[in-house]
């Protein structure tokens, strides 16, 4: 749907729902929220709900960022130590690469 034509309360509600949903380990939803409401939050002429939306968008952005950092660090740790961890790493693995320890 085209957010720019939705009424402001609707916008606020949507943004809020997305933020809340994001807490269920859904950083992607947060990312969507940020991209989707960025203009609403920062580019549009001000309107009552905007401050709320702005806050939600910022929260989502922070959340996304945190998740991103956490995920990348975890992936780096795992990939570097996979061989050393042995069995545990294998049981953790979704794809065990062929032909490498």
């Amino acid at each position: 749907m085209d957010i720019s034509k939705a009424p402001n309360p609707r916008k606020l509600q949507l943004c809020r729902t997305y933020l809340m949903t994001g807490f269920a380990f859904l950083p992607f939803v947060w990312a969507i929220n940020v991209c989707w409401f960025f203009d609403e939050a920062f580019r549009k002429p001000p309107y009552p709900e905007q401050s709320q939306i702005k806050r939600y968008v910022i929260y989502s952005a922070i959340g996304t960022l945190l998740w991103l950092i956490a995920l990348t660090t975890w992936i780096i740790i795992f990939q570097t130590n996979r061989a050393d961890w042995g069995a545990t790493a294998d049981y953790m693995s979704f794809i065990i690469p062929l032909g490498s320890p």
């Binding site: 749907m1 957010i3 939705a6 009424p7 949507l14 380990f25 969507i32 975890w74 693995s93 794809i95």
Partner: protein
């Protein structure tokens, strides 16, 4: 696996209904009325704030949307009548051209996603060998074409495709029954379940095979997180509200997955047989007077309902436009005072008269017919359809790829005000940057601009059925490892799509989307790989260019 596959194959079949254009959500529309006022105040248009709302509220009463009302209108318009002798045909033409024009635009708006879907499938086929080899089979294809005998393979393929087709037909009928009985919960549950399956299980499979193809290690926490995010976001996008681009992306991906599933799990010849069979079924279901899909869509229109949001691709064109009624109490000066070159006011008046005249008759006829609520709805439908101003391409589809254009035909059989409407749309669109237009067009309907409001987004919708089967065809073709064949199929299918839309515009009757494209596709696929390929290979080996 079979179970999943079977479920998922059947599920998109449930997307038979393609309602009118506000498929995204009816509530969205309801909610969007207030902001019109707001917006209008912001933009401080010439007209007063209330008229649009009143206008919208009076939409149901504006029921003269029959071509039958046309002569009366012609006679009704005093000055306009005189002026109408000439404009009549001209308007006829205008209508034509708008149809074709938006046709042209929306053909492209279809080309892009269809091509993207094909691209995904072809890329996958060429990079992940998993999807290239059939070892596991669907429940519906008991004959596995293992014998080297062509004849045996042939009857195997035919039998398989027959079975598959009968399943499809059953599904469709079941859907009709459900829909007639208004078991929406069941249908929605069905849709959600199937899209859930595609988004989680088959995406999981896809991810696994992708990583395996490139031998990339991955741990479960990451994989689960990715799947969870992707899936949930997909469900939200498809069944709830999300940015349009995201929704389109998901739909394309789902279609591609579905196509890949077909390519993977259907035996070689069966896949071709099914393609042929499905396009024939498509013809029957749409063109035959009691074709199931026609029934479906007609009921949908009688009930004036939105289609199920899932699995219908909608590319949205933004029309800043409102209903085409003209409230008589609205003073003319507002329009004349509208920002427009003075020399155009005459024409403006003419149009206004011609516009103003029908409405009383409209009220009468509506009151006279008010008893027949069904008809009223239908006409209101027409009105809305007209309001969409997006006739040509708003044909719909289900998984069987039935191009259903009932709504479209009605829109096209709609009457003058529709045309005026469309002219206005056109004007608006030209102003909203969809194209360049010369000034003389603009003058005609400038006065109406103030009344034109942002309504909810309109778009063409194409059932994922087309996406899927086009992609299956192209993917199959590319699985032989010859790119010329792939390109030939691609071009043939696009041309087929063009022709379908063209015929739709010319004949003004419901047409299925698959047959032409698929027939072209099949012919070119086999012709190319049998005849052209050797020739081209000989040429390119010798570096001879023609």
């Amino acid at each position: 696996m079979d179970a999943h596959v079977s479920a998922s194959t059947s599920s998109p079949a449930t997307v038979a209904v393609a309602g009118e254009d506000e498929n995204l959500s009816g509530e969205a529309e309801r909610l969007e009325r207030p902001p019109r006022r707001q917006k209008q105040q912001r933009n401080n248009y010439g007209s007063n704030a209330d008229s649009p709302d009143g206008a919208v509220l009076t939409v149901p009463s504006v029921v003269i949307r029959d071509s039958t009302a046309r002569p009366s209108r012609l006679s009704g318009g005093g000055v306009g009548g005189g002026g109408d002798g000439a404009p009549g045909p001209s308007q006829q033409e205008i209508e034509e051209e708008q149809g074709l024009k938006y046709g042209a635009q929306h053909v492209i708006k279809l080309f892009v996603p269809v091509s993207l879907c094909m691209l995904v499938v072809v890329a996958t086929i060429n990079s992940i060998s998993f999807y290239n080899s059939t070892d596991v089979y669907l429940l519906y294809t008991p004959f596995h074409e293992l014998s080297p005998e062509p004849s045996v393979k042939l009857w195997n393929a035919l039998a398989n495709s027959l079975i598959l087709m009968s399943v499809v037909v059953l599904m469709t009928i079941l859907l009709i029954v459900l829909y007639k009985k208004r078991c929406y919960r069941v249908i929605h549950g069905w849709l959600i379940l199937s899209s859930f399956m595609l988004l989680f299980i088959f995406t999981y499979l896809y991810l696994e095979e992708l990583l395996r193809a490139y031998n990339i290690p991955m741990d479960y926490p990451t994989a689960v997180l990715i799947m969870w995010n992707f899936g949930v976001a997909g469900m939200m996008a498809i069944h709830w509200q999300a940015p349009l681009r995201l929704q389109q992306g998901y739909l394309i991906f789902v279609a591609a997955l579905m196509a890949l599933v077909f390519i993977k799990y259907l035996p070689e010849w069966t896949a071709w047989a099914v393609l042929a069979a499905i396009s024939i079924w498509d013809l029957i279901a749409v063109l035959s007077p009691r074709g199931p899909l026609r029934i479906l869509v007609e009921t949908a229109q009688e009930r004036n309902e939105q289609i199920f949001p899932a699995l219908i691709y909608s590319s949205t064109v933004l029309y800043t436009y409102m209903g085409t009624h003209y409230t008589p109490e609205q003073p003319l000066p507002t329009t004349t005072s509208s920002p427009s070159s003075s020399n155009s006011t005459t024409t403006t008046r003419a149009t206004q008269n011609s516009l103003a005249s029908p409405d009383p008759g409209a009220g009468a006829s509506s009151s006279s017919r008010s008893g027949n609520s069904r008809h009223g709805q239908r006409q209101q439908e027409n009105n809305q359809a007209a309001a969409e101003g997006m006739p040509l391409v708003s044909f719909k589809n289900n998984l069987h790829g039935n191009a259903e254009a009932a709504g479209f035909t009605q829109e096209w059989s709609a009457n003058l005000s529709d045309r005026v409407a469309r002219r206005q749309i056109e004007v608006q669109t030209t102003q909203s940057g969809n194209g360049r237009r010369s000034n003389e067009y603009r003058t005609v309907t400038t006065p109406n601009q103030p009344q034109m409001e942002a309504q909810e987004e309109r778009g063409i919708k194409l059932g994922l059925g087309d996406f899927i089967f086009y992609s299956v065809l192209v993917g199959k073709a590319s699985s032989y490892g010859d790119w010329t064949t792939t390109i030939a199929c691609f071009v043939a299918i696009l041309i087929g799509l063009c022709l379908t839309l063209l015929l739709l515009a010319i004949w003004r009757k419901a047409l299925p989307a698959l047959p032409i494209s698929i027939t072209f596709g099949l012919i070119f696929c086999f012709a190319t790989s049998a005849v052209v390929k050797p020739f081209m290979e000989k040429l390119s080996a010798k570096q001879v260019f023609i």
